[in-house]
Amino acid sequence: KGREVLEQIDDNNPVIKMFKEYGAELDTKHDRHERIVKISRDITIESKRIIFLLHSAATDLEHKREQIFNEADLRLNQLIEKSFKGIALELEDHDPYLYLRAYTAGVQEFIEALLYYQFLRYGEIQPSQNLCEKFKYMIPILPKGNDNTEVMEISNREVVMVIPLTEFFLGMADFTGELMRRCINNLGSGNIDDCFRICNYVKDIYMGFLSINSSGYKEIGRKIYILKQSLLKMEYVCYNIQVRGSEIPKHMLATVINANNAEVNNEEDEGYY
């Protein structure tokens, strides 16, 4: 019985016609999802590399540091101008939340890199609003039909890359992981003041997360837990500096540290020539 049903159905059958349209729509969506995933993977990798680059900015050679910062800035902007623009164009006229899972990994890693860059260079991170500004793209609208090469006013349309605020904070939580790495590395390289500064900074972020009601956001809860572990490690680093530093009078500690950093200071001085 069934066999003839299938055979009888020709391409003009209304059901078949309907489903051909449906199929095209599903394919379009799936293809777009796949394209966005690919861009997101690129963003993830490049962001990780930028973070790695930034870790090497733990140097006291100011020109070297500046050089690294400039490179990081450039590469972050390239991500914004290329990869994110690519996603934004894919998402134009589409609900970004439909494709969020395709690019969430890339976005979070990018934010982690961006905030780490901001913190290292300026000692502060910028609120997400500033980022939103950068995620607006002006796309020239090509006049269609009109083939004459006269000088015309080219109008632009604005395309926006939407990043849900939760993504920003998930990236921020990851960013504290990099701060912990930096804090502990600092101890190794004698950058004691920075240890305290970073530790306090992460304390602020931790209290920020504590103060919000994140029930229903499992991912945030998970990251707060990791954040707390990082913070405890940093606090222990600061504790160690303090307890060791207290073995000799404060004024002598300063001497000792300076003595140990003699060469470094010299090099730093050279920076003023």
Partner: protein, 232 residues
Amino acid sequence: MSNIIMTEIFTSFQDYLHSEQNVREEIRNIVKEIEKNAREILTVLQIIHQENGAQQTSSSCLKARQLFEEVRENYKKLSAIVPSGQYYRFNDHWRYVTQRLCFLAALTVFLEVGILVSINTVAEILGVKVQASEGFHLDLEDYLMGLLQLCSELARFAVNSVTSGDYNRPLEISKFVGELNAGFRLLNLKNDSLRKRFDALKYDVKKIEEVVYDLSIRGLKPGSASTEATTE
């Protein structure tokens, strides 16, 4: 927190989360209402499986149509709450019930006129748009899920029709589900819930075919030439 910038950053985050939670709360309340509507429509249409359900079909459809009016109003409220362009942010709340309502709308239309309802018509029945760009819309995948649910119901309906002595209905269902099956085969489904649900469609098709087969070998298939031949 000594750091003022940080305080501000998190305050705005809390505001964001808070307003989101409020929106979700409102959505949940409306969705509960819609679920209640759906449950009522389903109960009304269950009459078809009863022994003498056939006679009451049209009055059941009528009742269902009235209940769909409430559904429309509730979807209107929902669309007023969901911010434009954020349909898929909150989608999980109403996805399931929407699929159910697609099924119920499709069942109603099938019972009324025996044809496959289009996504446009379902959207109309629910009082939502078809295109995402126009506003609160009916997701294509939800519509398709509803159709798959319909097939399961029809397989059951085919069985119970025979019990009620209606030998015509199974043939009608067989043709209808056969076409739907052919339609679904045109779709390139990903490995998602839709694909999984579609895989289950086979069993419904199989069941229906078995019913039709049972009717033919017993010569109960209306209007078939072989009926006479076999029963003799």
